[in-house]
Symmetry: C2
Amino acid sequence: MKFYDYFRSSAAFRVRIALNHKEIVPEREFIHLRRQEHRAPDYLKINPQGLVPAIVDDDGTVITQSMAIIEYLDETRPDMPPLMPDDARARARVRAIAQSIACEIHPLANLRVLQHLTNSLGIDETTRTEAWYHHWVATGLAGIEGLLDHPSTGKFSHGDSPTLVDVCLVPQIFNAKRVEADLNPYPTVMRIFDNCMQLPAFDAAQPSKQPDAEA
Amino acid sequence: MKFYDYFRSSAAFRVRIALNHKEIVPEREFIHLRRQEHRAPDYLKINPQGLVPAIVDDDGTVITQSMAIIEYLDETRPDMPPLMPDDARARARVRAIAQSIACEIHPLANLRVLQHLTNSLGIDETTRTEAWYHHWVATGLAGIEGLLDHPSTGKFSHGDSPTLVDVCLVPQIFNAKRVEADLNPYPTVMRIFDNCMQLPAFDAAQPSKQPDAEA
């Protein structure tokens, strides 16, 4: 399997966690987003969206979008510990909370959106961080904290082993810490974050531990 | 089943299509977003995120997030025509394209984000439409058009019957038309849109045909 990765991409960070959890060691290629390598013709042949991550499985199947990749890894490697529950209701809860992160928080705070706010809308950096980034982190995590106030929440977001939710949650918290968002209002989120970071699969996937990491 | 709906929500529009496709007739409650009904304490008990749509199945299970709801409906109603393919690779392709709409286009152009750009960042309406909304529709749909340039694309986005991709695509095109975005560069997207709109499940779900529709 080939994995197109970038240390700072939180969607790629999700996939790194899932690969570690499933004990898959792919061939990695690093696509440097700030150097525009995701817009290079060769990469656009792999992913016409020009986004990281992408994987190419051994049979040549290309899969894009982190949550789709993670469910694919889970479905095709059932011998390793699952990241999705067995029951349809539980799966729906896991997908819904993961999507609350991936569709409600992350898209508003990724690199290309922040760059567009500055370059095309003329938003200064302080406003961008405080009135935009912190606002969406706070709105989003307040919703997640509410969704986690539920009898199915355990040591992790759904039960006592990690799922797709935790795989999406941890990179989002790394981002929130990076912009110094206030995380005190979300004690359940942070308890689960701490539990995840005890696991080698999560710890080894963090941006600063990647071969392409920069200061 | 109870369904919390709003005619103008494109995430609710997705669920309306899926319900029609599965021939499920839920009890509907309309949550008027512009009147802030999604922030009412009773609704926040159903969905702590304060977002539409949500469903409550007959056993009391609450499910939020449109894509999670649609996969749940598909998994729990296997007797009706499927919206997800059988094969893991095909499912991954369908999820990836659906997520490309739901995670890359829709989150940047929904009501609360547009309101925040105006009210907190002071962006005027013309800039908001042209330099923001049109920009993200064009960036997103160019990527989707690229992903659809694939041998698995048929009469619909994946093969010759509608899937989760089409259910997400049609509401996004309705939104794009509403803000008069240029759709000429996306002939495959528009061919599939036209094919979808021939189907009663899609046609009957459109905003103007809902009981809570406003001019």
